[in-house]
């Protein structure tokens, strides 16, 4: 039902207004807690990206270079978010084989690039570096949901083979990059989606055992030396005191010295990338905790928890089987990313290169987070006629 505003106009303006109206209409029904929490988190992220990067030597374009880029990506991400509100997510489901295919092609393609810091994970597009792994994450979740939505086959052990294959194909490519962090976050995503879809518990147990076997295999064959050392450093910090535990220790001290109220903006001892590498990306939480203290750090944790739990709430409220699977998948993805990132910074997990959603500096990561958010909001605000009781048992 086009509004008064739109009916009085014609042509392109009318079309645009109609689009805007549809988006607005949808957002009116959206989960405002989720959107509000994300907005606040983004603002906090901006402040600390600035604080962490203002003194970085070689930044070149001045103190705000990183923040300006981050703002541009946030703008882009928001655009994608709005665009996602215009469509209905079943369209995404229909397109999922294509999206999944594109993601796989990119993941294969990225293996032929020049390695940066020992990993082939980025396409250098001159304007920014595209990290296909980030884009593959939502594509994988949609593809899994698309496969699982109407079937019952996963209730048999043999029926799990196909979703396992869909899930493992990109994972293998990620390990090849190598990108252990992303690989690890996708494990709980798969488990949660299969579990929510209705796989039997003992099947999951069996898979967990297979997973352990796979981990051993991983350790023996695929994991690079530096990755092994990181794990060992985490397990036995004393033996790897200065070499691998260095980052962990730095991050720990940094966080610890924040105290209740923090050292104040730009006052972190780790300022300057020479002391804590990747602090504006992977270790941004250490900066937040040191400069903002427990107060701000706990707020960030709370906001992230709100986002994740809102996602699960959307899953519960959604009746459409694919929608709720996607919501569970995305929530789990965000949650595991947050937990792994913070766990690393807090010295609870070995060092992996993983960004904190909506907070860390990084274009691909931010874009991916916005896509996830867009899909979540889309699912949550979909009006669907109630035709029957819950049939998805």
């Amino acid at each position: 039902m086009p509004s008064v505003l739109a009916t009085q106009r014609t042509g392109t303006t009318r079309t645009l207004l109609l689009h805007a109206e549809r988006v607005y209409d949808r957002l009116r029904r959206a989960d405002l807690v989720l959107i509000g929490a994300t907005g606040l988190l983004l603002c906090i992220g901006m402040v600390f990206v600035w604080s962490a990067s203002h003194g970085v030597p070689g930044a070149g374009e001045g103190a705000f270079a990183f923040v300006i880029r981050q703002l541009i990506f946030a703008g882009l991400g928001f655009g994608v978010f709005l665009a996602l509100q215009r469509i209905e997510y079943p369209a995404l489901l229909r397109a999922s084989p294509v999206l999944y295919g594109i993601g796989m092609v990119l993941l294969v393609g990225v293996l032929f690039t020049r390695p940066v810091n020992g990993a082939r994970a980025w396409f250098d597009l001159y304007i920014f570096k595209l990290q296909p792994a980030e884009l593959m994450k939502p594509a994988l979740i949609i593809a899994l949901a698309h496969y699982l939505m109407h079937r019952e086959s996963y209730k048999r052990l043999s029926g799990l083979a196909m979703p396992l294959l869909i899930w493992f194909a990109p994972l293998a490519l990620l390990m090849k990059q190598p990108d252990l962090g992303t690989t690890l976050t996708l494990v709980p995503v798969f488990v949660a989606m299969i579990f929510a879809a209705g796989a039997r518990l003992w099947h999951l147990g069996l898979m967990a055992m297979a997973g352990c076997g796979g981990t051993v295999l991983l350790w023996m064959s695929i994991m690079k030396d530096y990755q092994k050392r990181r794990v060992l450093a985490w397990l036995f910090p004393d033996e790897y005191r200065l070499n691998e535990a260095w980052q962990l220790l730095r991050s720990e001290i940094s966080i610890g010295s924040g105290g209740l109220t923090g050292q104040g903006l730009c006052n972190s001892s780790q300022s300057g990338l020479d002391m804590l590498p990747e602090k504006h990306t992977d270790f941004i939480f250490a900066v937040v905790a040191e400069e903002g203290g427990f107060v701000v750090a706990a707020l960030v944790v709370a906001l992230l928890a709100i986002i994740v739990l809102s996602g699960l709430g959307i899953a519960v409220r959604t009746r459409e089987p694919a929608g709720r699977l996607i919501a569970v998948g995305i929530s789990t993805l965000l949650c595991s990313q947050v937990l792994v990132n913070m766990g690393v910074a807090l010295g609870l997990l070995p060092t992996t290169g993983l960004t904190l959603p909506f907070v860390s500096y990084g274009g691909s990561s931010l874009l991916s987070s916005f896509i996830c958010l867009g899909i979540l909001v889309n699912i949550g605000s979909r009006q669907e006629p109630v035709l029957s009781r819950d049939t998805f048992r």
């Binding site: 720990e252 610890g256 105290g259 949650c335």
Partner: protein, 756 residues
Amino acid sequence: MFQFKVQIIAGLMLAAFTIVLARLAQLQLVRGNEYQQVRTSLGTREHLLQPARGEIRTRDNMLVAVDHASYDLAVTPSQLPTLTVDLAEVELARANNQANAARQEAFARLTERLTHDPWVQRVAHETGRTPDEVANGLLEAFDQVARKWKSAGNAIPILRDLDEATWTRLRTWQESSFENPALAAKNKEIAGALPDAKQGAGIPGLSCIHSVRRVYPEKTFLAHILGTLRELSPEELEQLRESGKLVERLHDREVLWEKLRERLDANDAELASILGRDPREIIDVRDLLDVLHALPPEQRRQAAEHGLSDPVRWAERPSRMELGEAERTWLGDGPQRSLTDVRVGESGVEGFYNQLLRGEHALQLNYKVPGRKDAPALAQSTPKPGATLTLTIDSDWQQACEETLAALGKPGAAVIMDVRTGEILAMASWPTFDPNLFVPPRGTPETSAQLKELLSDQAKPLMNRAVSGQYPLGSVMKPFVAAVALENGLISPNDTVDCCGHIKEGNTIYHCDGKRAHGRVDITHALRRSCNIFFYQLGAKVGVERLATYAEILGFGRRTGLDLGGESSGVFPDREWREQHFPEGSPERGWARGKDFHLAIGQGYMSVTPLQATVLMAALSNGGFAVTPHLRLDDTPPAPRALGWSEHTLSIVREGLDEVVSVGTPGESGTAYHAFSKGAASLPIRVAGKTGTADTGKVNDTPHAWFAGYAPADKPKIAFCFFVENGGHGGEVAAPLAYQAFKRIYGTRAEPRKKE
């Protein structure tokens, strides 16, 4: 059912978030204070404070060597922006091209590319140097990192000796590495107040290093005595570092660390009683935190008072451990340190008194707060400036000697020494050089050509002829022979010899100088006229072994022990020397009368340095004592060695030496009479001495010219020796030279100045 499953997932997530929050609270709220304590300790830098090298002054307080402030520009490779050539390429060029030529070519190409780099051009523009120079310096710095001599986190000098204006301008926007209090004080003295280093952000990766440069303000004056400084090469540094000697040679780094450690260790016992365990076992930050955490508050406070979490201890930590590649990049090699003084004395008193002059380095530990250059110092020991070395040299006398030698324009040497104390009052050698050329960094474009020329010069300007040159002594030997003969009663003052101009020994005919006959001569007459025939016979009577006894006490054939490097020992052909140098049964090993003839007139195997000749003259004039010459004024040299010559003996010899200058009877005049008679009136004192004309042993060579003696003749205070290499006749070349010098010396003052 689905809802329940999602609730399970949500529950698990909430549990995980709770764990994260709990850990956060544990780190920040429970143990926050402890972490804050260590936070500072991890961010420390170790700075080496360089002491000013000691000054060198003459006895009359003329400044002849001093440290001046110098300003270098350095790069820290790890902080550099991306350049057209990066470290990896340099490493590659070094690793892949084993052949020297290929590597040089590769490096030349890299330099060429760097020259066009905008960063390099900007630096060149700002400093007023050519891009070539900057590119070269930069590449060299990269190369040092590639060779692992320096870490990429170190500031490595690329441009030396910026002028002060440039430095001051750069300093306002550059990070200065550190301020050196000892030097600041020093330089306030030299060049007024030193601008204090406060700086803002500038070209990334650049820093100014405030260093010092040795300056010899009087250029060539005293060059051979002052000697040269050199910089330890990176290879040497690396070798020394590996062998653990770097510290000893450069600065007492270990000692200083030891002092710091001792300060800490004194606490260890008390700490141990508080903690109930040896605090030295705590080597890890985690460990420290655990220990602190386990303590009750009161004990924790006590432990803190005793320095348990003292950042000094923790700053030490990285140096005790082996660092990984990554840490090296972040930390530098161990705690970041700047080795700025790698100067060592190479020769002269700079070399001999290096320990004294270099002073003591100090360490400063600073908080490492990036972006804040006014970070407070944590701990610091005070650098001890090098001691001032005062030389026994009298600058006026020295100048007189140097200038008369230079005026003659022939290679030669002059020594003037106090007869009683052995203080060297003047010591000159010609040709000479400018020690400033050798001051590190050597081989700057302006000086490298001069340096090359100096090193390849046939006249050997770097050689100090007064102590390093060994020459046949010639007739200057005669007073020695005379004294030994008189002392042993082998001749009386009245004994005479008839000189007919030649003497036959075996199949050889030995001649008097110029084949002239001197007629009937006694010992004083023989000395005055330098009669060879007389001394041939006397020498044969005395014999080599008797001479050797005294030669050993006097120091012929041995170094005099002067506190200066590069001394030659000379040769005295005593039995021991012959046995060392000739095979058993060889005719040379034994001894023949003819050899006594040669020895008695200072020819043959015997050779001495001009300094040894001076010591002989001092012994003849001070009552028969062999002094040890020395150059440091406050030094107490070993006690003089008594030769046991009676005053009677010496008075006869001295009479002869006096007559050499003073007797002008036509036809019987002393060999140096004419040299001194021309303007004898202008000398306020009488000089006594002995000329010498020493055959070099080569047929067509002009002989060496000697004139050695003492003054004043009646009451000797100084002994001297003037020597001209291949100069000709002693009485005609060396004696006039001495006269010219003395005219200038006694034209100013009759005695060396007292120490001011």
